[in-house]
Amino acid sequence: MKRLTFALLFCWCLFMQVRCDRFYYEEWLTPVYADSVAIHQMVVESPRPLKNTAKIYYKDSTIYIIEKDSGIHVIDNRIPANPLPIRFIKLAGCADVAMQGNIMYADNFTDLVVMNLANPNQPTLVRRIKGMYPAMADGKPAIRYQSNYQYYQCIDSTKGKVVGWNTGIRDTTKCYKSF
């Protein structure tokens, strides 16, 4: 009897497989949240550490470094051997800037912001053009590439308003067993 049980167990072990699909990843987007009241405000602050820097712009010995989705670092570069951070322009959802004369254009969440930087120490808001990126207004990411879908982490509206998206991967490895 003991032998039979053992044989049965042995057969069962032979047929049963426990395995995982390895290296099964999926690209998805994770939301960047901001305080929904503050997102449409431009605030000039003192310099702060550079992090998540992404894009860069140069005009008249001043360097503008965009911190992804947060704002613009203003750096006095009259002495390239000694660049001097002078201001941080807080601007939610900012990704790009361009300048014509002393006027700077920057994106702020769904809006286009027009600033005067005649004095880089004192950036001033000239006007705001609402709804430059209407696609973002629904708070959902745009569909990228030639596909019909885009995975993203579900939005938790208690965390604020979505001002941007980070691309990432997630491990969707599932383990399973079968007979």
């Binding site: 990843y25 690209e27 550490p49 550079l50 820097t53 992404a54 140069y58 790009d96 014509q100």
Partner: protein
């Protein structure tokens, strides 16, 4: 009396300067700054172009502090970067490079599309040539493993031709200055000699520079990384030297 004359002279000089400054503000494009190769904003003449995933918004900025919206055009999927070159706009997308021509009224017309494998690819151009880096990676396209620089002949905007390729590790932003090309790669900054477009050669691979994108100034390179700003003096191309690193982390 002499003082009085001086005042008049000074006054007239000032008014001339003022007139020049005003003139420059209205008519020339040299009044714009310089962006890196990963930009999605471009200013050409009196027009301001904003590209998002698949649309292009165009504003008239002849009065810079009061942009007037003039058009919104569909430009194609997965647009990631924009580079203005003369009257052309080069759009780097996840499938290839779109070449657009700017019309006198500021609107744009697609002239051609150079397709490559799905990947990320900023593009810059100078003279008759465009330079595009193609990289694999999670944020671009999952299973491709192409990492290279491509040089295109764009003298015929209707039919860009691939001239050569150069293998890279994981290239991102790039900048060009005549015969020299600067490419931000996985381990640092590559400097290539591209005098012979068919056969680009590497002069330097300066490692341990945090490099994502560059801006080419006068023999002076601004290199932005994830948390660092590095400046490189390349007046002596044989011995480029780092003049400063801003790391405020």
């Amino acid at each position: 009396m002499r003082n009085y004359l001086y005042f008049i002279l000074l006054g007239s000089l000032l008014s001339i300067c003022w007139a020049c400054a005003k003139d420059a503000g209205v008519t020339t494009t040299s009044n714009t700054g310089k962006g890196g190769s990963l930009a999605r904003f471009a200013i050409v003449g009196n027009y301001f172009y904003v590209v998002s995933d698949y649309s292009m918004k165009i504003y008239n900025i002849s009065i810079p502090d009061n942009p007037q919206f003039i058009a919104n055009e569909y430009v194609g999927w997965g647009i990631e970067t924009m580079f203005a070159h003369g009257k052309n706009l080069f759009l780097g997308s996840s499938n290839g490079v779109y070449l657009y021509e700017i019309q006198p009224n500021g609107t744009i017309v697609r002239k051609s599309y150079y397709r490559h494998f799905q990947s990320c690819d900023p593009v810059v151009a100078e003279g008759q040539y465009a330079y595009s880096t193609i990289r694999s990676g999670w944020d671009c396209r999952i299973r491709d493993t192409i990492n290279e620089l491509q040089i295109l002949n764009v003298s015929d905007i209707d039919a860009p031709q691939l001239v050569s390729k150069f293998k890279m590790d994981f290239p991102i932003g790039l900048g060009v200055d005549g015969d020299h090309l600067f490419v931000c790669d996985k381990e640092g900054l590559r400097i290539l000699n591209v005098a012979d477009k068919r056969n680009p050669t590497q002069i330097h691979y300066i490692k341990n520079i945090d490099a994502v994108d560059v801006i080419v100034l006068d023999k002076h390179l601004l290199i932005i990384g994830a948390s660092k700003l590095t400046q490189l003096d390349y007046r002596d191309m044989a011995h480029p030297k780092i003049i400063s690193t801003l790391n405020l982390k």
